[in-house]
Symmetry: C2
Subunit: 479 residues, 2 copies
């Protein structure tokens, strides 16, 4: 357990949002938290009161001048967030009072808490592991339902449990190998090499699932980049506006109107999609347009969902295929949006027949078949009339979630965790390699210990000053 932070000091900070409100809460944690407040709270002896009780009274300064009437909430160690004595002082919410109270507590011997220091203490005192502590910050900054649920799950230890399971299996593995080492030259094998290979494979399967979930987790946490692309005048901007119900993009009938990429956030059932409108894909007519197209490809590269919009009254299968060849990248989900369907159907009678015929004739089948293996959705809409948009939103949501998150699967959303999982996985690759090559137990043990080390970094069983500093400096003061 890491321990160079000074846990002897009592820390204080405003815990509520900055500014003026009906009430504000000032939080103290540490050995002297209760006595510090007791010195200023003359109504009764707080130290003699039970934990988890609330006390009304006046805070007076050193000259006995009343500063405010407050409610004091007592949490006696270890029954508190930090496992230390914690006092929360709920005062009238003027900035002036908040400032005055903080000054008083500082003069009584508390010091200002650093960013995230309450949660750091909760971690150092064993209240939660590191990934749970990190989830507290995620929870506070979560601004969509799915990011919120993700953080809650991690805070409640869902992720830690998975890591713990992996570690236990590995530790068992490692100890058997190390037992062999104790016997030195005797050439015994407590650890059956085939069983071990199987175990590593099993662990790597779990690791791979966690690693794979990162793209989703990161997307949920930071929003999902969703690029809307297609030929000029296919109706991309009209679609964007229709989805957002406002005139965000400049829409005109002149092909090539949209030159700058435009980003908007669309929230579908608690998942945030960053919609990126783009310039039309075609051979660039002028210099600026060329830059627009280049930008489009850049944006596509940064996105995990491609919404490919085309005008079904004019565009033919080979053109669509050419565009998708240009735009598609591995792992991307594709929504094929056939726009202007009303117009199309008013031209063609007996539509289905026509379309299916046309499709088989002109290469559509091949396109759909290719996409079918890639995570693909097809939807006919008329953007101008907002027809088909509910279905499209449903497709977007399903493209990301596939019901994944809500089924309680653990999802990795933190880059630090992702990197540690990856390093752990690499060490296990070496273990497998070693087993293949029949290397000695001491080398195997070393690689296993590396894998364990990286898993331990996630939960904080292994941590350094720098690492903790980095993590908690991203917290807000007062948490």
């Amino acid at each position: 357990m890491y321990n160079s932070f000074d846990l002897d000091e009592t820390i204080v900070a405003i815990a509520t949002p900055a500014g003026s409100g009906a009430i504000a809460v000032i939080r103290l944690s540490g050995k002297n938290a209760i006595t510090i407040v007791d010195n200023l709270f003359k109504s009764k002896k707080l130290i003699e009161q039970a934990t988890h009780t609330i006390h009304l009274g006046y805070i007076r300064d050193e000259k006995n001048v009343i500063v405010d009437q407050v409610l004091v909430s007592l949490f006696k160690e270890p029954n508190s967030y930090t496992k230390e004595n914690v006092v929360e002082v709920s005062c009238h919410g003027s900035r002036f009072i908040q400032q005055r109270l903080i000054e008083l507590f500082l003069r009584q011997g508390a010091r200002m808490a650093r960013e995230g220091e309450f949660t750091l203490r909760a971690f150092l005192n064993g209240q939660m592991d590191l990934s749970q502590a990190e989830a507290v910050a995620d929870l506070i900054s979560a601004d969509s339902e799915s990011a919120h649920q993700l953080a809650l799950q991690q805070m409640r230890g869902g992720f830690s449990d998975e890591i713990q399971k992996l570690r236990e299996d590995l530790i068992h593995f490692a100890s058997l190998i190390e037992l062999e080492l104790d016997f030195g030259e005797e050439d015994v094998e407590f650890a059956d090499r085939d069983d071990l290979k199987e175990l590593v494979n099993k662990i790597q399967t779990l690791l791979k699932r966690l690693l794979d979930s990162f793209q989703l987790g990161n997307a949920i946490k930071n929003g999902i980049n969703t690029v809307i692309a297609g030929r000029p005048n296919a109706g991309k901007s009209t679609l964007l506006n229709a989805l957002l119900n406002e005139d965000r993009a400049i829409v005109s009938a002149i092909a090539g109107t949209t030159r700058d990429t435009i980003e908007e956030v669309l929230n579908i059932k608690g998942v945030e999609f960053r919609l990126i409108d783009t310039a039309g894909i075609r051979e660039a007519g002028d210099q600026i347009e060329a830059i627009g197209v280049e930008k489009t490809l850049e944006k596509v590269a940064q996105s995990s969902i491609l919404v490919y919009v085309y005008d079904m009254t004019t565009l033919k299968a080979p053109d669509v295929k050419a565009d998708l060849d240009k735009l598609y990248k591995e792992g991307m989900k594709v929504l094929m949006i056939a726009n202007k369907c009303d117009e199309y159907y008013s031209i063609h009678d007996n539509v289905r027949y026509h379309m299916e015929k046309e499709a088989s004739e002109k290469g559509w089948d091949q396109i759909f078949e290719d996409l079918g293996t890639k995570g693909f959705y097809y939807r006919e809409i008329t953007a101008k009339e907002k027809r088909g948009l509910d279905g499209l939103k449903e497709d977007l949501y399903n493209a990301v979630l596939d019901g994944e998150l809500m089924q309680g699967d653990v999802v990795v959303s933190n880059l630090r965790h992702y990197e540690a999982l990856q390093k752990s996985n690499e060490s296990l690759d070496k273990v497998l390699e070693g087993l293949q090559m029949g290397i000695t137990g001491d080398f195997l043990a070393m690689d296993i210990r590396h894998a364990l080390h990286h898993l331990g970094e996630i939960t904080g069983e292994i941590s350094t000053d720098d690492l903790l500093g980095n993590i908690f400096s991203n917290f807000c003061i007062g948490k």
Copy 2:
């Protein structure tokens, strides 16, 4: 007691400042406050817990999905701010969580609290009188030490006590008169008219003191308008900058640089002075300057302190007298600031002697004598060298406070109270008039009842829907 607000409903609001922070507090008040939270808080039955206790647990939505881990503080009626059941839910401080919890509580039957509705209920349920309730809003918006102390004193009932004393005396007076009325034609006088006259005089003395304190109280609450005036190049802007320790005004040696009035706040020992720099007073050289001078006079008219700065190396008594005649208004405090004293004394040897001689010779005596009756301070400074500024600040503070506030005197700071006191005083004037003219008891009683009515408006014993609506709509939501 006024009662058309629906006290049967349970109200809810975010009590902490808007925005994201470590924690936020959502407050519910009303008959069902505890059961509403109980429906969502599955960890234990809150209704069975003691008042003033804190409970850790999860809030779950109707589908049993966890929304947040929270601390619930219980206050059972009548032991709460509103004297109703109150629950404070301390949650993680993301906007998202705050919003979600509010939505949940609304679905469970609470309704959004209106501005100040918690305090309105505290008033309606007899927890505090109206002037105390008003002080709660003042306390939250107080941003200087003196405004803060003023609000605290009023919240703690200092002002109410004074009003109560006045009312009791008057009620005694009124009942004696009304007793006479019961005896109809018998022409008895239970109330000795001379004693009554004396009593009214005594009450009016108290009323007058309260009324007089309003200028101070209002100044403390809203800051004290302090105008800096004087001839061009007297050093007004230099003085302002020196006081504020920054280059706020454009300072140049060219007379007439300052054309717009400039406002800055200077905090001296917890009292806020709004310093208003002005264009120089003289016959205007051009059109714009003429507007500047007019503005100066306007600003002087709005100020309760005049800081008159003059260049003591050049300006003579008759000029100073002419300026003061132009600038002075009744009731204003004047600080005579003789600037450039270093230069002056480097020119004149044996200074005091010279100055006193000059003074008596050239009309200074008369100026000082005139000002002496008006609340006047004299100070020599060299603004450029920041010499004499501490003394000047001391003068400013004394000009306002005269030690008044800190001696525990009750100060009126609320315009509504001031107007009610004034109306009460006018009714008492009529009582005295009536006594003088020997009018009958029934007329006397009517005027006394009017005086009582207006006093009752202050504490809320007399109140109307409109009045309460007006007062509490100035509160923040959640208080």
